[in-house]
Amino acid sequence: MVILRVRDNFGVEADLDILNEAELLVDISAIESGDIGEVFGVSSQEFMLPGTDLNNQFFANMYDMGADLSIALNHTIYASVLVDGQEIFAGRMYVNDIIKDDKG
């Protein structure tokens, strides 16, 4: 199973809920590995997270525009991807956009 482990700039750590494993690509193609530095492969990817209680709490409920101290919106935070407990990527992540409706 894929785990997305993050740590914000205040040192708060969390294993975020992810939609499903396919959202996070954990393989790297021969082309990408052969052109590191030229092709943006899985080392830079965009994925969607579900709006669960855990995720909302970690990101400080920033779907509410008035919520203070947005996490990972205008800065990056530490993140690592683990598969069955083994870390395969480690780097930084940030929030691209937030989807909500008027019921939150």
Partner: protein
């Protein structure tokens, strides 16, 4: 006072709804002015800070119903309790505090002020209610009274000297009767004590929704009373039934404001009660306290009836528990046929009969496979059927289909998480032809079988 609270959520309330707070300030003309609202937990620890510019009318309007549900739950796993049990996370105290932020010039640094008068820098500290106790339930817009839960339907403070007569149905469920089998677990939950948002020292000790005891009366099929037993609410603030409310009312907190009672046949057996031979049904009556102390039988906070049923037509049925609209458990037996369909996804490859990897000579081997299935994934889809339902039960069962938190009781008494997969619910649409009707629900265990390989 710099901040004036114009509107605030009342206690008790329900978290997943519109929790509207409205404030004004006489500092609104200051540069870079913003209203600040802190959502704090029961101890005053900050959970979330929200800021907002004043609207064109100089008012700040916050709807905290989008944020607070993230801090409620998970629902207490109290299915198999054998005594009155205090709340853990089905409801929580929140301290909502208002303040303001401004600077003294349009380019200056802003600071946060308490909102009190005179102005002082610090965390927001103005409130409309000392705390609000919110249940982990859901409140639809049309069911609100002035943006609040009509808590009077489930919360009524009465005299704590046990001298008053009243009759309510304040259990946090819509089911007043239930059919249960011996071996079934069931719980009933009540708001308990003082939940009106008043600070501890200001609580009026002469009024509370004091759920003192539950009386269990067992009857046979002729309606003859077989036995009477009692389970006292010693989950808090009382720790013993000999204590008067006046002795303990200061010891209330978010854990004591909601109490779960054991209600199913198996819960009662686990509590030490003996179910009588010939038991056909039993009633559970919830009363407040007299000053002896004893049970005030004239003060009824709820009475619930449980009919004992056997396996219907030989079917074992399926017992569901789900988080209801009040954020506590409801239960129902789907008593008729249940079935399971296993869909197996098979992954296979074809192997050559000749073993080209042999050493020296190739062994002629009839047991060597051609087709080999190397992974079979089992997906078990289950259905359960109700018997014929009354209109009330049919209406109340809608919450099962809407709930995101559903469990099934196994024959060994364990509860396993499941997901309901029915895509839609067709409610009674033609009252002339459909006097009675049934529900069929498709469900599966949340943890499916592991693939074979």
């Amino acid at each position: 006072m710099a901040i004036t609270v114009r509107q605030n959520s009342t206690s008790p309330g329900i978290g997943n709804g519109h929790l509207i707070q409205s404030v004004t300030s006489n500092s609104g003309s200051r540069p870079q002015f913003r209203f600040v609202t802190d959502i704090n937990d029961k101890d005053g620890e900050l959970l979330q800070r929200v800021k907002q510019q004043a609207n064109p009318n100089g008012t700040g309007i916050f709807d905290l119903g989008n944020i607070i549900p993230n801090y409620l739950g998970p629902t207490d796993t109290v299915w198999d309790i054998s005594a009155a049990t205090a709340n853990t996370a089905c409801g929580k105290d929140f301290q909502i505090r208002f303040g303001e932020e401004y600077a003294y010039s349009s380019t200056g640094s802003t600071a946060i002020y308490t909102g009190e008068s005179p102005d002082a820098a610090g965390d927001p500290n103005v409130s409309g209610s000392n705390y609000i106790f919110l249940l982990d339930g859901v409140l639809n817009s049309a069911a609100m009274t002035n943006f609040n839960w009509s808590s009077g339907s489930k919360y009524d403070e009465e005299d704590t000297d046990g001298s008053s007569t009243f009759s309510y149905q304040n259990g946090l469920t819509r089911f007043n009767t239930a059919s249960v089998r011996l071996g079934d677990y069931h719980t009933l939950s009540f708001l308990n004590g003082n939940v009106a948002g008043v600070t501890g020292s200001a609580v009026n000790n002469s009024e509370a929704q004091d759920i003192y005891a539950m009386t269990i009366r067992q009857y046979n099929s002729a309606g003859t009373l077989l036995d009477t037993d009692y389970i006292y609410n010693n989950a808090g603030p009382r720790s013993d039934q000999s204590e008067l409310w006046d002795d303990v009312y200061q010891a209330q907190n978010e854990n004591t404001r909601l109490v779960h009672f054991p209600a199913g046949p198996e819960n009662l057996v686990d509590s030490g009660l003996t179910l009588q031979t010939g038991l056909a049904y039993y009633t559970l009556t919830f009363n407040n306290q007299t000053i002896e102390p004893g049970i005030n039988t004239n003060g009824v906070y709820g009475e619930y009836r449980f009919d004992i049923t056997d396996a219907n037509c030989g079917y074992d049925g399926v017992r569901f528990a789900w988080k209801n609209e009040y954020g506590v458990w409801d239960y129902f037996n789907f008593a008729l046929e249940s079935s399971t369909t296993s869909n197996v996804e098979r992954e296979q490859f074809e192997q050559n009969f000749v073993d080209f990897s042999a050493t020296n000579t190739v062994t002629y081997d009839r047991e060597r496979r051609g087709f080999e299935q190397f992974q079979n994934r089992v997906n078990k889809q289950r259905t359960a059927n109700t018997g014929y339902l009354t209109q009330d039960n049919a209406d109340n069962l809608r919450e099962l289909f809407y709930s995101t938190n559903v469990y099934v009781q196994r024959s060994n008494g364990e509860w396993w998480p499941v997901v309901i997969e029915s895509a839609s619910v067709t409610e009674k649409t033609n009252p002339r032809s459909q006097k009675l009707f049934t529900y069929t629900v498709n469900w599966r265990y949340a943890n499916d079988q592991r693939a074979r390989r």
